[in-house]
Point group: C2
Chain length 323, copies 2
Amino acid sequence: MQNNEQLLSVIENYLAQTELPAEPELLYAPIGYSLSGGGKRLRPMLVMLSCGIFTDDVQQALPAAAAIEMFHNFTLLHDDIMDNAAMRRGKPSVFARWGQNVAILSGDAMLICAYRLLGGVPGHLLPQVMATFNEMALGVCEGQQYDMDFERRTKVSVVDYMHMIELKTSVLLAGAATIGATIGGAPEEDCRKLRRFALELGLAFQLQDDLLDSYGDEELGKAIGGDILEGKKTYLMVTAMSRADETTREVLRRTYRDETISNAEKIATVKTIYDRLDVPHLTEQQISLRFDRALGILDTLSVDASRTRQLRAFAESLMGRRK
Amino acid sequence: MQNNEQLLSVIENYLAQTELPAEPELLYAPIGYSLSGGGKRLRPMLVMLSCGIFTDDVQQALPAAAAIEMFHNFTLLHDDIMDNAAMRRGKPSVFARWGQNVAILSGDAMLICAYRLLGGVPGHLLPQVMATFNEMALGVCEGQQYDMDFERRTKVSVVDYMHMIELKTSVLLAGAATIGATIGGAPEEDCRKLRRFALELGLAFQLQDDLLDSYGDEELGKAIGGDILEGKKTYLMVTAMSRADETTREVLRRTYRDETISNAEKIATVKTIYDRLDVPHLTEQQISLRFDRALGILDTLSVDASRTRQLRAFAESLMGRRK
């Protein structure tokens, strides 16, 4: 199989070749714009690498890989309307550039295009792959709805939060891994294991995302504290709320809502409480737990350990870790 | 096969049984609300009746019939956001009742649920049925985009208009008929013919809808002239514009935009011009032409004429005609 860099370029080429009609322009141009906007192509990579564990002929997984990337970009397109987000990957969002109606309709077309790509899956596997894809897609919608529900709820437990990110983030990775394995001809048991692997990896990835937003390296170019300023519920915040006494909880709530203090002060106040409650360390622990579980599952597959090496390396690079 | 009334109740039962999770409520409740909001179930009826031409075992077409009805209701749900429509079938639209974000996301879930229902199609037919469904679904999106484009265009030709309604209305009926025939085991040639049949029927149906909006029977409960008051481009309007001299065209344009005259006066002025240009009669002619073509195609199928009787009766009842 090609190495990860080669695989990525195979995926990029396949996506770039996906033919879209020229007319009506306002329906199709936003799809091309959205697909060519970059992104790390994690999900199609996961399809290809999961397939590659079981067969050397990974090309047959390309349509499904592209379908999942198309689906992912569709969710971003519609999420940006719901979140009123003007920017996406450093460019104006489709919503900001073309307006709400174009974003709704071209997003719909994009979801249909994802299914059209899925139609390229070998016929005898299509019923099973489609069932996995549908459950995955509905799960992601459920996650997005819970995420919006949480914005209006004052109390969100750690368990609630983990359930939400499992749906919103992990389920898509799990679908990618399962579909890749299915197309590769994996035994059912291995498909289930790869699903668990991707669920755990997705949780580790999302928690790391939460952690880096408040404790990342400023030099990497991303501003620190965005989640705190947006008043978002993150693993850090729900963990802090679950560990704090009532007085501290009230300070956290008040600080989150306070529009009179400076950004820097708001971030500093919240992070001081996080630190006092040992939240960063607990988050690190949870990330390691999930990530180690994920890698551990790979060891239990029915294949030779050498076949999982490439997926393992990918997972490690994803988490910025080398073991 | 059951008669049309029995078929309708089989479809209603099947739709009512479609299981939706209870949570998250804001994702799934609007889907149930939307599906149970009535509607004539034309499209699933067309699936069942097209299937019934080729086999007596029409039950196997139920999942696809439900998928198409689910898809149709999804389009209505999202169209209502784009059109800012507060009412749908005499009830508040999902958009009006739950707000924009819920309408976007539950619509997305509805589209996925349509594909989930489609997964119930016999496995060996799934690739073909899914390809038909995808082309149909994209066509409907294209039609909606052209419809929105037309709102901002001053010049829309009769040909442009026919192309738009073919996509927006007929393509869905064509997909329903083709998929029903495919599941019934029809030869490819008959599938293609049923597709043409449904395209023509859809055009006849849409033109009749346009005609009745301005020339229907007030006593049937629908207010006359809604399209005129909304300034909508209809077959009547684009035909009038194509036949009028420049002076009359200017009167039509001005009247459409004029916010100072009463509703009754606006409707009367436009209809007087329609009448003078023979538009109602020309529309009737076009409806008959399309409808006769549709029925003529049924005569050319490879089956005994008796097998198309039920579909023929359905088409006639749809057009309010008994021949």
